[in-house]
Amino acid sequence: MKQLMTGNEAAAEAAIVAGCRYYYGYPITPQNELINYMSMRMPQIGGSFIQAESEIAAINMVYGSAAAGARAMTSSSSPGISLKQEGISYLAGSELPCVIVNIQRGGPGLGDISASQADYFQAVKGGGHGDYHTIVLAPSSVQEMADLVYDAFDLADKYRNPVMILGDAQIGQLMEPMEFHKRPKKNLPQKTWSLTGAEGRKRNIVKSFYPVKGQLEEFNAHLQRKYKAIEEHEVRYETVNTHKADIVLVAYGTSARVCADVVRKSRQLEFKVGLIRPITLWPFPKEIIRKISEKVQCILTVEMSAGQMVEDVRLAVEGKCPVHFYGRTGGGVPTSTQVIKKIVEVVPDNLANTLLQLAEVR
């Protein structure tokens, strides 16, 4: 049955549906609905909720529960996620599965509490120290938030790796009808490495410290093999009207909703606008972007940042077509009119007239 929920609450309940019984968090806007919801629900289902003394403590509590073999989650927003980076690096280094929700707000510094996508670099390029990756999933609706949080726990367990849900203030606070789909249980590896007490077996050690020369390089090679497997098997994206498109927009999350509107409005024109919406930001859907770039006149990346994902788009395109960028910063959300104006600006002159019609259509 469908129900009306905010993205933040949907993320919380989806975690519970996925079997998460350990949640640790620290209040920060715009993700407060999530921590509040968990404080109400966890005691009802025999789970554990702690309002930690800091984001640092919260991520380390997650580390502990993950090391103990349980499904654990924390959530925060941009400044709080910065504080969690130390813990995320250790989680990656100790190969601990967990889910971290980042409901992005404007930055840098304390910034503001409006929607933003300015943490893309931090999320997909590592964020903390060392050669590591978190799997990054970007929902663009409340329904997708619930679906991706559920999948995030499976992915985390499958690869023994932290998974980040990269949302923003709009996806987190927006209310939409949604429902929880319980999926068939996946055949996931047993957590034989976890800390349960060494009764009747050899002891387990959860660590990321490799002081003997050569061991750390070997461990990093293992991590890189794992990341390669994730890149091969876990890429997700959605394409809209990319077949025979003249220009393709690339956007995720809230920006992708705006771009979907642009695609809808342009349908009646001869000039075809398509959309590639990455769902996994890491691994990045570079193959499909590269393929499509060979057939279009140009690509326009739209973000709520000064231009972060556009770098990965350019790397994927490898110069096969021009890649343009339109972005809003500091909590600004692009409107479809602004995106259309940008399209008019970047398309070849002979098509500009057609597009002006489009601008009038709205």
């Binding site: 640092i56 090391a67 009764e199 002891r203």
Partner: protein
């Protein structure tokens, strides 16, 4: 023939990485003795800190977990919530517990986490070549207080047991030392009390152990032991600081 003295089974037979005269080996051995005597190897989970004791898991044959610098109280909390009937302890030095991890230890104590904390205080950062610790004595020379710690510029040594004693969630706090065989025996009793507090679900316990670091105190082993008795114990008086387990 009955053996009067043996290596505890839980204590792994491996070359030590600790410096000559260091106290960590004694404390780790005492933990192993208690685990053996109480038969709790299969339900004990330990936390190693960052600092000299980062490799504590090299010596204890139990499930163990590393934590980022200062974070063992938070990580231990996460483990204990999953395994509330296991014995969970965190082993921390003075930099880990009383400098970078101050927030974590205070709030673990204040929540009354049912965990045992073993706080080895040697008043110096040994792992990084002997810099000032939060517990460095006034006047003590270290790599970063070359003319001795002066309290106007560097503050005062932090008395962790006293600091935590005012919190409603702390149950058992005791300070002991390793300066003599008698004090080592007292340390073992204090550790037993700490573990017992947890097993009986009486809440947060912390045993602070004054431990020698002859290398960075620039002393020989005997002088270091005397230094604990004659100097360190003045700033950090031995004894039970709080007992709310009754």
């Amino acid at each position: 023939m009955k053996a009067l003295y043996e290596k505890p089974k839980t204590f792994i037979d491996t070359p030590t990485h600790f410096c000559p005269g260091c106290g960590h080996g004694i404390v780790l051995r005492l933990i192993a003795e208690i685990i053996d005597a109480w038969g709790i190897r299969g339900k004990t989970i330990g936390l190693a800190p960052v600092g000299c004791a980062v490799l504590a898991y090299n010596y204890l044959d139990i499930d163990m977990c590393e934590a980022a610098h200062g974070r063992p109280p938070a990580v231990a909390t996460g483990i204990k919530r999953v395994h509330p009937d296991h014995v969970v302890f965190a082993y921390q030095g003075d930099g880990d517990l009383a400098a970078i991890g101050t927030a974590e230890i205070i709030h673990a104590a204040n929540r009354g986490e049912n965990i045992t904390f073993i706080f080895v205080n040697n008043a110096v950062y040994g792992m990084t070549n002997g810099q000032m610790a939060p517990t460095t004595l006034v006047g003590q020379k270290t790599a970063t207080t070359p003319s001795g710690r002066d309290s106007i510029n560097y503050g005062h040594p932090i008395r962790v047991c006293e600091l935590l004693s005012v919190l409603g969630g702390s149950s058992y706090l005791e300070r002991v030392s390793l300066s003599s065989p008698e004090n080592v025996r007292k340390t073992k009793k204090a550790l037993e009390k700490g573990f017992k507090t947890q097993i009986e679900k009486r809440g947060f316990s912390l045993i602070e152990i004054l431990s020698p670091c002859p290398i960075y105190w620039r002393m020989d082993a005997n002088e270091a032991m005397r230094h604990i008795d004659e100097e360190m114990s003045k700033t950090f008086p031995l004894g039970v600081v709080k007992d709310w387990t009754q």
